[in-house]
Amino acid sequence: MTLTAAQDVLQIDAPLTEDVICGCIADAVRKVGCDSVVVGLSGGLDSALAAAFACHALGPENVIPVIMPYKTSHPGSKSDAMEVCTAFQITPVVVEISTQIDDYFSAFPDANSVRRGNKMSRERMSILYDLSMAHGALVLGTSNKTELLLGYGTLFGDMASAVNPLGDLYKTQVRSLAHHIGVPHSVIDKQPSADLWEGQTDEGELGFTYEAVDHLLFHLVDERRSTPDLVAMGFDAAFVATVKERVRSTQYKRRPPVIAKVSNRTIDREFRYPRDWGH
């Protein structure tokens, strides 16, 4: 890899990256006989970029954005999501989730905010999959590489999708691509948040900034650098240890469930076929 001294390791070529990702979306959708995708629009950066890529890949008429507010969602989230729809000329479906969430937790009034947040995330997944069936579409994912590696997502919630265009992009790269593709500035500039409870921010919850952790993750994961090397490069030893442990301890979120092996040919061990089998 050739770099000039001034080039940031996270810098990517935006038109090239967009081209590759949009080709992937179009291929993944059409080869299984679909034309369109449904995508949960939170008003945040990731879902905005995913929707934009899908518009470029499939045409705006084939992108079905779904806005799913809860009663405590920041009102700016919905207005930002609407602004994304305007920018990319897509027509939203709005499905309120307060009733079903509140009905469920009326039986568990002491449930903490993490349980409630996960339930909302999985309810949104459930809606997206139902609408994908209704429209003959695929569910478009919005999880970026940073949150996937840090396990900062809800298993079978926001992590669930058929095709995920952002899964190999760090958050910092998501931001730069969003600039390139014309995501509204109000979305790009605001503090990232899962918006599952009041005042929640990603960086507040994680305890470090995306810029810092993305640079560390690039050297740690993409370049397989050791801890001594990372410290010599200037990363704080405790920060390296925290992030490494976070990646290790969330590996279960990135793998299929444990299957108790008893046969000679077990799914995902000796039974190995490509997802695109026959396509």
Binding site: I12, V20, C24, Y273, P274
Partner: protein, 295 residues
Amino acid sequence: MTDPIAVKVAAVPSMSGVEGLTVALAQITPTLGNVPANVAQHVSVIARAKETGADLVVFPELSLTGYFLEDLVPDVALRVDAEELRPIAEHSQEIDVVVGCVIVSDDARFYDAMLYFSKGELKHVHRKVYLPTYGLFDESRYLASGNTFRAFPVSCGGVTWRAGILLCEDMWHPSAAVNLAQQGVELFICPSASPGRGVNQGRTLGTAQGYDAMTKTYGQLFTSYVVYCNRVGYEDGVGFWGGSRVVAPDGGVLIEAPERDETLVVCRLSYEYLKNVRFALPLLRDERHDLDGGA
């Protein structure tokens, strides 16, 4: 592939001449695991290549099967005399054809192979020697390694070219190219199923830059033509980057296919041009294969 394939023709006056070979590179998207569909696609593309006046059409690695086969390897494997290959042989009467598939030997070993058909017959088989089993590759799990790099004749217009095949990973081992150069190869046929990666290295993919350097270097150092044929399309989210090209014996790129599009790239090679380059730059004549590390 439902639409007619786009055709891109090199207009290189210096490659005109009496003693020549027109090569077509079929940068296509195979259907994963569907040999009959891919055979039908090949027949269509071979016919198109013939229309362009090509003498030889080269397909990418595993063009008849797709690449990320995993447990599909035994399902798609063919014996070299398989009935499924008959249409390919039949369509090689007036144009030579190089296709990629999985072949199975009598002792049930599977090989990633390129088959060269000419005048209706199978004339040469190259079994991939170097099987990448690292990163996103897992070839040695399923495949046996070939043991040979052998030059073979390609006759056209009174000239018999000496050709050799380097199949994707084979290209990454210079000893293989040296081996073929020692056998007098003038035309390196380099089919590939190269997945694209690296968007942080400038305007083009990192893999494209790697193959750019390699094909030009081989052309220059072995004063030979290099025809590189990669596929396009996606499998399980991995995109194949295309970029098929012809490199001249002086290392210059004569024609290049666009990345990510199905294209038939057509280019005439000049035997006189090759001879003139080798006269001006007699690297092969001066090569010493008899040296060792002793004093």
